[in-house]
């Protein structure tokens, strides 16, 4: 693979296999499993290649078990690849050199590094010492990030007494204390309510703008991806099947757009069949799916033929499209 000096992350033909044991149910299966354990290799990631430039925010999309978290773990150096190459800023992540570790961070939505029975501040000062920050640097940095994350006295309350949202924000603070330039975020908004999700998203966006950090993100919440990631990498059954901007993905997934019309008077469904595929018809409201190439003509005709109060054109929800995509397992 040709590497460009401007590429921060280079992933080349990366694969990961896990050896797993197979056990049949029941007592017989247990005995057999004890004396004659059968193992086989499961492919979690297969032959994936891509490059990421500094400062990019890239979203990794995929169903559960697709391989996106395994990919993230290989890029941050947590697990060793079976074959292939990962290069992050000139470092081989699995060697976990100190200089590399000081440049990256990993946030896992379902895991915590904060000490459960102590206030986050204690864990923050441990991290500050581990990353070689002076007391003054640590204080300034904590204040700066706490302000961005809207954290205050929560930092001096035991972690176990914090809400999930406060805990997650404290986790993010702990993970970013050493000013990492590459952020690996695995489901950072998992389990958070809508408001907390929005705050984490706006923080990440702001952090990227302020520091130019590269952010690699996996999330099951499409809102995270649409709000943060201009570029997405889709993984299905361990293989990469889309790498590009989110808009193009939406276009390739759905060559149509939704036209929602509010009518002054109720109309029969037959009257709309010639304009497009009827998605919904309810008294004076109609939702049509219209192919992009006919969109201008259809809208123009609708405005001429009907007495319209309001008209809205939108893309079908991206999460719906992606969901369908994973079910189908291919891009149209």
């Amino acid at each position: 693979m040709h590497t460009n000096p401007s590429d921060l992350i280079v992933v080349d033909q990366l694969s990961k296999y896990y050896r797993v044991a197979n056990k049949q149910p029941g007592f017989k299966g247990t005995v057999k499993h004890f004396f004659d354990r059968k193992t086989y290799d499961v492919s979690a990631v297969t032959d994936i290649s891509f490059k990421i430039a500094p400062g990019e925010i890239v979203g990794f999309l995929g169903a559960n078990g697709a391989g996106k978290t395994t990919l993230l773990k290989m890029m941050c150096g947590l697990i060793h690849p079976s074959t292939g190459l990962v290069d992050v800023g000139g470092y081989s992540p699995q060697r976990r050199q100190t200089a590399f570790l000081k440049e990256i961070t990993l946030v896992m939505g379902q895991k915590q590094q904060l000490i459960w029975d102590l206030p986050p501040m204690d864990s923050l000062y441990v991290n500050a010492a581990v990353y070689g920050l002076s007391d003054h640097e640590a204080k300034v940095r904590i204040n700066e990030l706490a302000e961005m994350l809207e954290l205050g006295e929560e930092l001096t309350r035991p972690v176990r007494k914090l809400s999930l949202g406060q805990r997650m924000k404290s986790e993010i603070l702990a993970a970013l204390l050493h000013k990492p330039s590459v952020l690996f975020l695995d489901e950072p908004t998992l389990g958070l309510d809508v408001n907390a999700q929005a705050r984490v998203r706006s923080f990440l966006s702001e952090y990227n703008k302020r520091t130019g950090a590269t952010i690699l993100l996996t999330s099951h919440y499409m809102a995270d991806i649409t709000a943060l990631c201009p570029r997405v990498i889709c993984i299905h059954k361990g293989k990469l099947f889309y790498d590009g901007d989110l808009d193009s993905l939406a276009n390739s997934l759905s060559p149509s757009r939704e036209v929602k019309v509010e009518l002054k008077d109720p109309c029969a469904s037959e009257q709309f069949e010639k304009y497009g595929e009827i998605q919904d018809l309810n008294d004076r409201f109609v939702c049509l799916l219209v192919s992009r190439d006919k969109l201008t003509d259809v809208v123009s005709n609708l405005l001429t033929d009907f007495n319209i109060i309001d008209l809205e054109i939108s893309d079908p929800p991206i999460d719906q499209l992606i969901g369908e995509l994973f079910i189908k397992g291919e891009v149209n």
Partner: protein, 265 residues
């Protein structure tokens, strides 16, 4: 200043934080301290049957030995394999592996902080022991105390490294705490926790002294209780075991961490 490649600041911060954490569990730690009364049970057993004389010890000598064994045990007890196994299986190890600090240092800090938390309870138990056995009261000399302190720390280091060796097997077996039993049984019999090693037949003693176990309890306890002991050879053996175990843990860790699958994370 650096201690084993660790800056003094990191060392101090880890210790103070872990101490604060341990204080949250002070009642639990007091119970753990109480649970280490096996040497007192053994003392009661041997002294009632007048077996002590066959060890070359009178009742006072026996009492001092077992109190010393209790104190050494309090400050050399190790549980790294259990914490490490849990952290490894639940994925909590993952963030530790991505920080520029060897994860084992965190466990060392936890142990040292726990020892500091145990100290008042251990002293209280020793005072109660002296009240119940006033004839056994003694105050070790300062050099004796210093050597006992040093040998207990070496004992802790050996025990920690031995268990870390087993803990590193988590990368292969997932439930390596079961393997810890392989260490615990010889530890129980050969460390001097049940009986001073001088009670062993000479050929058994010779074999026992080739293992690290007599240097975990018997050697520091003998120093503390004022029993005759070959101090230079004892320290030499402790240092030798530490120098064998440090690279062994290091190699096994490096090999194991390549197999880490970050389960549960």
């Amino acid at each position: 200043m650096r201690i084993f490649g660790l800056s003094l600041k990191v060392f101090k911060t880890l210790l103070t934080t872990q101490y604060a954490y341990m204080l949250e569990y002070r009642i639990e730690i007091a119970l753990w301290a109480l649970s280490g009364v096996l040497p007192f049970i053994m003392f009661s057993l041997w002294s009632q049957n007048d077996v002590g004389n066959s060890f070359g010890l009178n009742d006072v000598g026996l009492a001092r030995y077992f109190l010393s064994a209790f104190l050494v045990r309090q400050f050399s007890v190790v549980w790294v394999v259990f914490s490490f196994e849990e952290d490894s299986l639940t994925g909590r190890l993952s963030p530790y592996l991505l920080q520029p600090l060897h994860p084992l240092f965190r466990y060392v800090a936890s142990h040292l902080a726990e020892q500091a938390t145990r100290l008042p309870f251990a002293i209280a138990i020793a005072i109660i022991f002296f009240i119940l056995n006033p004839s056994s009261f003694w105050l070790p000399s300062l050099p004796q105390l210093f050597l006992a302190y040093l040998s207990t720390h070496f004992a802790f280091t050996i025990a920690f490294l031995l268990q870390s060796l087993v803990a590193a097997l988590c990368f292969w077996t997932e439930k390596s705490s079961a393997l810890e039993r392989l260490i615990f049984v010889p530890y129980l019999f050969l460390s001097g926790l049940l009986v001073p090693l001088s009670a062993f037949p000479s050929n058994v003693l010779k074999v026992a002294m080739l293992t690290p176990f007599p240097y975990l309890i018997n050697f520091p306890a003998k120093i503390l209780s004022g029993m005759p002991v070959d101090i230079s050879n004892g320290f030499l053996a402790q240092i030798l075991w530490i120098s064998i175990l440090v690279p062994s843990v290091n190699i096994l860790w490096k090999l194991g961490v390549k197999r880490y699958t970050a389960m549960g994370a």
